[in-house]
Structures are given as C-alpha cells and as structure tokens.
Symmetry: C2
C-alpha cells in the first residue's frame, strides 16, 4: 500500500465503485469527488454519497451544472431520448465531459495534497466516447501536470477490462456482493439489478453472467 | 482571412482585447467567451460585454463560480491580499485556471462549430503561472483534440510578446487608442489607465511607455 493520497472520480456506479475499492487497497488515504450536473437521476449523487459513507471515505460534491449550458444531450436532460446511430457518437455524448472531470479532479487533488487521481473510464466498452480512450487519459495526465507543475498520476484500473473482468476485480477485492447490491448503473435510476431493460442494465447483467460462467458458477 | 470560425477567451483586459482584434483580422467568424467566477470586480464582465458589443461580436458568458470552491485565493475573493513571495506561485494563482478555461472554450467551440480557439496567455510576463507557458498550451491542444476527436487549433498570438510589443500589435491592428481607453487591467477595477498603483497598472503603463519610445514618440 502506497503511503500517499488519492482522489477517485466517483459516480456511485459499478465501475467507479470498483475503482474506489481498488484505491482503498492501493493507497493509504483516499477521498472521492462526485460531479453533479443535473444527472438524469439525482439519486446517482445520493447513491454515491451513501456508498462513500458506508466505506468511510470523504466525498466532495462539485456542482457541474455549467456543463448543461454547453452540451444539451440525453444524459443530462430527460426530454431527449437516448439513441445510438451507427458510426455516430451516442446521443448521450457530452463532448469533453471526462476532460472537465479530470481537470477539476486534478485541481481538487492539488488543493488536498493528493498525487493520485483514479478514474473508471475504459476502452473496452468504448461505445464511441473519445474521452474514454487510453490515449486521451495519458495526454490529459501530461497536460494537468504542466498546468499545475505537479507530478500527478492518473490511474485507469479498468481501462482494458470488459464488464465480466470488472466484476472479477470486485470479487478479488472481496466486494462482489457489495458492488452488485449498492451501485447504480440503470438509465432509469433503479439501483442494483436495475430495470433490466435499458442499454446500461444489459451491459451490466451480461458481464455478470459471463463472469459467473468464467468462475464456473454457471454452465 | 481564413473562412473559418474562431472563439476568443475574452476577459475585457488589454491582452484578450488585442487577441480579439487579431482574430477579427484572421478569421471570417469570431465569437467570444467570458468566464465569470466572482472576479474581484464584476465590472470585468461588464467591460467584456461592452467591448464585444462595440466590435459587433457575440459574447458567451459562462458561470465558473465552481472555481471558487476549489481555489480560494486573492484573485477571486476580496478578503485576501494580493502578495507575491519569492520563488512561490503568486497568491493570485488559481491552479489550473487556464486548463479549465481552455477545456470549456473547446467544448463551446465543438458546439458552435468553431475550429480555432484564441487565448491571450503569454510566457513573457510569466509571473510564475505554469498554465501560461507555451508547453502547457500545446499539450492542452493535443488533449482537447483527443477528448473530442476534433482538429482544434489553439492560437496564442501574444505568447512571446512583452507588454510593449502587445501595444505594438494593437497599434498595427489600428486599435491602439481603442485598447487603451476601453480595457480593464487594474486590480482595483478602474478601466483605461486604472489606479496607476497596483502591479497590473505598473506592468501596463511601463509597457506603453516602452512602446512609445520604440515608436519614437518619447525620448
């Protein structure tokens, strides 16, 4: 365990909760930052707070409603249907969202004396978001370091994992059930197994089943 | 003149007004973005609006008060004295401020279909801000392009100019008096020649006098 401080970009979802559990194993001091930008379901913020509390971790909540002025799209406004057209960026795409999150997370890291920044972005379920790619995160790391003359390290523990492998990591961290029962992934705001119908729920349950097969608990 | 669209990060100060005049000469369509984060003097925002109006340019105003949550320091809160200790970053230093401005400016550029982003940062009056350096701006350009899969170009027309040369550029653009009489630089919120006492006013008038000597209008 590194005797250093880390900040986790934390939404209360499966991925960032798995990252938080990973960070708690890796670093002596861990805090979380949650960005609130009128998410389709403000429970997302409540879920993030309650998970942070359960794990005894400080949670910083930053109001990012400014993003809505700039990127009216499905993820942030209920009146826009979520649809994905071939070859086009999904309508849930908030351009530069992770760029903004990582910029603010690194400013917060500067202020609280944390050197490590953890984000759950991953290239495997890329789903067309350019700012989920490894190449972007590495470039962003260099840029935030130059901006503030600090040797931050941005970690992406899930970058090359698919959903089944993300469940596997939670299991290895001894928290498979914790993640399954406490996190919010569903576009319709239902925690744990969710509505079971939306694209996010499909991705989540498919990954879980695959992991169960991998683990030999399913035929 | 390029038949393309540009957005100028615009505060109503000498530097960004000179950049706006430069952009109006270089690009067919120009808009401006002003970030409001409870600046020491909200006239800064009013001055920016009035200059944009005088030049017939659209001005986007973005509320960036979130920065205050993250970086309590002199520039944004009146109760902290502005002082500069040797070797230390000036107390006016809002860590990562230009990183945030350029991130939001590029998201706005994405939304309004602008490819060019202009910022007045310069390395000559570096005064210790790491995110005023050329190296940072170039890295940030790569990062924002990767974040949104767009070929943005960030321009820094003042990067290697000192204050006298910035006045010279305004003069070459036929706007020396316009810049002198309309812009706000002074920490105490007095436009044009300002209070004449604060560090910003000293830097501004010293540069102007040097340019007058350069131009042969002063001994």
């Amino acid at each position: 365990m590194k005797k250093e401080k880390a900040i986790v970009v934390f939404s209360g979802g499966q991925d960032s909760t798995t990252c938080l559990l990973w960070a708690l194993k890796e670093f002596e001091e861990v805090e979380t930052v949650t960005f609130h930008y009128n998410q389709r379901h403000s429970q997302e913020v409540e879920v993030a707070k309650s998970i942070a509390e359960k794990l005894g971790v400080k949670n910083h909540l930053l109001d990012m409603s400014l993003l809505n002025q700039l990127a009216p799209n499905a993820l942030t406004r209920n009146d826009i249907e979520i649809e994905v057209k071939d070859g086009e960026l999904p309508s849930t795409f908030v351009p530069g969202r992770n760029l903004v999150f990582l910029s603010f997370a690194s400013i917060l890291a500067y202020q609280i004396g944390a050197r490590h920044i953890i984000t759950g972005v991953c290239e495997t379920d890329f789903s067309g978001y350019p700012d989920c790619r490894d190449e972007f995160v590495k470039s962003c790391n260099v840029t935030v370091n130059l901006a503030m003359e600090k040797p931050f390290v941005i970690h992406t523990p899930l970058m090359w994992l698919n959903k089944a492998e993300t469940w596997k990591l939670a299991d290895e961290l001894g928290a498979l059930d914790f993640v399954k029962n406490n996190t919010l992934t569903c576009y319709n705001g239902i925690i744990a197994d969710g509505c079971g119908e939306c694209p996010a729920c499909h991705l989540r349950s498919k990954g879980y089943e695959e992991y169960m097969v991998m683990k030999g608990e399913r035929a």
